[in-house]
């Protein structure tokens, strides 16, 4: 029972009405090209089609999904296609922010570990560098700014301590990507199924 409350994160379910009187065979025949892609196995039995994918191609229209079941239900209001699709990509995109937050914490932790040793090391650089960096006459003539030594504090901070900012940024990026993807992919697959089911009569060979 518990799984159902979080299943929606990476399970996409939906339904589409079929044309009245359309047979299951006809409906699945129209959808068949979607499953005839590299890395896809599918089997159809009566009103149910189940599929699974491995290493599916990038341009596969259903590449986001790794497995699923399509079932045609006949009720009073006409035949309806119910689909239940599973996407590991959506699950990992949902979990990715947690991973990057973990990286951020690791970065902070390591930065704190390093602090005592960098305080000792700051003595050295002072003596080596000259106070004025050379500038070639051509650069001076062309108006380039005179080179300056980077400020000591800035150099110590930037050079030594790793920043967790990038990890936080990526956590946010994946959170946004997940929100967009969960909605987008659900909408896209519905429209793909709809277009295939309604497909032009002229292009479909009439089954003998």
């Amino acid at each position: 029972m518990n799984a159902r409350f979080i299943e929606w994160i990476w399970h996409i379910k939906g339904s589409l009405p079929l044309a009245p009187g359309q047979s299951s065979d006809d409906a699945f025949h129209r959808l068949a090209p979607l499953f005839q892609e590299a890395g896809t196995n599918y089997s159809q039995q009566d009103d149910t089609l189940s599929f699974s994918k491995k290493d599916q191609a990038a341009q596969d229209k259903m590449s986001v999904f790794d497995a699923g079941v399509l079932q045609i239900e006949r009720s009073g209001s006409g035949p309806v296609l119910h689909y239940h699709l599973v996407s590991r990509a959506l699950l990992f995109c949902f979990l990715a922010p947690l991973l990057f937050l973990g990286f951020a914490q690791l970065t902070v932790f390591l930065g704190d570990l390093e602090k005592p040793s960098t305080e000792a090391a700051t003595e050295k650089p002072d003596k080596k560098k000259a106070s004025v960096l050379p500038q070639h006459p051509i650069d001076k003539a062309l108006g380039a700014p005179a080179p300056e030594l980077p400020k000591k504090d800035a150099a110590d901070d930037e050079g030594k301590k790793p920043s967790p900012t990038s990890a936080y940024v990526f956590a946010a990026i994946f959170a946004v990507l997940y929100s967009v993807g969960r909605v987008l992919e659900a909408g896209l697959i519905k429209s793909v199924f709809r277009k295939k089911l309604q497909g032009s009569q002229a292009h479909e060979p009439v089954p003998g």
């Binding site: 990992f92 690791l106 960096l133 380039a144 990890a167 990526f170 994946f174």
Partner: protein
Amino acid sequence: MDGVRVGKRLIGTQAPVTVGWENIPKVEGGPVKQFVFTWFQPTVLFALIAFWYYAPNSIAKASTAIGIGIGFRVLLLALEWVNPRYESWRLTWKELVTDLFYVGLGYTILNLVDQYIGSDAVIEALQHAFDWDKLAWFVGLPLLLQAFLISFIFDFGQYWMHRGMHNWYPLWLPHSVHHYITQLNINKGAVGNPVELFLIGLGIGGFFDFLPRAALLAGAIGMAVSTYQHINVRFNTPRWWRFLFNTTEHHSVHHSQDFEATRSNYSGTYIFIDRIFGTCIDGEAELLGMEGGRRMSIREQMTFPFTEGWKTIKEKYGRERYARAETVPAE
């Protein structure tokens, strides 16, 4: 397939490869579009050089460079949307998420690890151990010359590391997974095993003393050229650019499903390094990848170099559990 003879090799016998600039299609569209996609690359390059040459010291920092880099990538993603090279390289949501995962790894955990074992750490350790000073005469050279030399020295090293990766099995293992990409998009350069990314990042530039601004310039030149390696955009790249610099076309040949074609165009920025050493093929390809275009999952990208290496070691050095004589056919 017949293939095309380039030097001593036949290119395009296993998968289609277009060879020769005269056979590359041009950008289609009105005069404005033509103008934009012809002059975009040189304009960006010279604008970046001018920026880094003249920027006041207060903004000539790494953080500015990172910001410009990110902004540039976003712009190029938009270009991919507007003027895609191939429909078969269209960026889908899943591809974008996967690519950004690799990019994210690079900016976070790999960056962290690199500080301990990367090129700079190694060079610093060496210098401390042997009481060397950096090569200080470098600093007095004109800024643009310093920048070019930094960029060229790094690319020269990259060329040989990359060529080594395509010729020596232990180096091929971590690099092989990158070649499973079946399309080029702006972030696909990051796709691959972290071990390879570490190797590619090794460089001897740290032995030279140079102005920090020269490093930023070198980085900008590198970015303004090598970003286009993995990109789904068609440009009408000027001929002089194609002669000097690595382009999307060159890199697509390197990624093609044709084996002989992949053994070419190894440099990152300066294709003339490939011309010098005879490994340049001018052309393009659309069909990319390995094993007929099988897409490799993230999990497999991380484990493949090790599992394949293990399999090879077992084959080479392992003995059958029940050692037996050569099997003889029944008939």
